[in-house]
């Protein structure tokens, strides 16, 4: 009998230690995320990054984004609806965090579409077909060309643009900024420089709402 109580006690102690550990770790990483932004705030928004919504909006969502990432795909409608429902108060700045194999190529193709002013429709198409071209272990980003064939691009020009050094440089800058800001997973969100420390759409909406409220009450 004694051993059963000991067992229960041991499980309780280990479970408690685990829960306390989780709380301490979460707190510490949230702190680190805040310090990372403070020490490199210039890394958040760069002139080359695509912007969705009112460019002069007082609230900026910076999203570190990977075209191959399933969660980014799932979050894209959420982020867009936040921007669209904000009456010009919120804009989205997309930065790239190509953490998957093949993502860099996907970024090149999307950026080539941006050079012809078709970025957001190309992104929609690419995300819709993501399961087809971004299979883990077998990424085939070249299939994105098929996905975006019907949005009215000059395909020959886009294919040539995709390899341009400007895109490569922008991507390099994004990766450097991702490291500086300690973004380790995608999507990584910052709202007016505040990192989203606890991940979730409810949490993101709440953080945006806080920042919008700050702007309204000067």
């Amino acid at each position: 009998m004694k051993s059963k109580w000991l067992m229960a006690g041991a499980v309780g102690v280990v479970a408690l230690a685990f829960i306390v550990g989780v709380a301490i770790y979460r707190d510490r990483s949230a702190q680190q995320a805040v310090t990372a932004v403070q020490s490199s705030s210039e890394a958040l928004v760069r002139a080359h990054a695509p912007v969705f919504g009112n460019p002069l909006a007082p609230v900026t969502i910076v999203e570190f984004f990977d075209p191959s990432c399933e969660t980014c795909r799932a979050f894209h409608p959420v982020v867009k609806s936040i921007v669209n429902a904000s009456f010009g108060q919120v804009r989205l700045v997309l930065r790239y965090a190509p953490l998957h194999a093949g993502s860099d190529r996907a970024v090149q193709i999307l950026e080539a579409a941006r050079m012809q002013g078709k970025y957001w429709s190309a992104l929609e198409k690419a995300l819709a077909d993501q399961p087809r071209w971004a299979a883990h272990g077998n990424p085939q980003p070249e299939l994105i060309w098929e996905s975006i064939a019907d949005i009215g691009l000059d395909m020959a020009r886009a294919r040539a643009d995709a390899g341009s050094p400007a895109i490569a440089d922008a991507l390099k800058q994004d990766i450097a900024d991702m490291r500086a800001l300690k973004v380790r997973a995608t999507p990584g969100f910052f709202v007016n420089g505040r990192p989203l420390t606890e991940f979730g759409d409810v949490q993101l909406r709440a953080l945006v709402a806080e920042e919008v409220a700050k702007v309204r009450k000067p």
């Binding site: 067992m7 280990v14 685990f18 770790y25």
Partner: protein, 148 residues
């Protein structure tokens, strides 16, 4: 074991199994913390060691719960497998064995210097210590010649 042999610790079989179970419990919680909370992706060898460690909690747990000394016997193969894998992983980590000859070619490197807790203790070494401790504890009653 002869009666004259010096007994360093007076430990009965049931307590030994209980302690082995507890070590497995802590190791499992630690592995889950590293993987799920800290977001460190386990490498291939880490997975094999997890496969040996996680069931020990359940097998030995049932043994402790039902005061079944035979559970030590059932835990031993898992402990041996774990010791072997962890030892190999340590050798890989310290560079005694080269990674080229290892099964880790894709994903997270098994010889990565990042495999440390608090930047000091290598995870494979902690695994080896845990499995070795469990192995000794589970072998305790056999070493004393007590069989059930």
């Amino acid at each position: 074991m002869s009666k004259e042999s010096p007994r360093i610790v007076a430990l009965d079989a049931a307590t030994a199994v209980f302690l082995a179970w507890f070590v497995a419990l802590v190791a499992t919680a630690g592995a889950l913390f590293l993987g799920e909370v800290m977001g460190r992706t386990p490498c291939l060898l880490c997975w094999y060691q997890r496969i040996a460690m996680f069931p020990l909690v359940l097998v030995l747990g049932v043994g402790v719960f039902d005061a079944d000394a035979r559970s030590a016997r059932y835990g031993l193969p898992l402990a041996w497998a774990g010791v072997g894998l962890a030892l190999y992983h340590c050798l890989l980590y310290w560079g005694v064995v080269s990674e080229a000859a290892s099964p880790c070619r894709q994903g997270v490197s098994c010889a990565d210097a990042d495999l440390q807790v608090a930047g000091v203790v290598p995870i494979p070494l902690m695994s080896l210590l845990a499995f070795a401790t469990i192995l000794v504890l589970l072998s305790w009653n056999r070493m004393k010649g007590v069989r059930s």
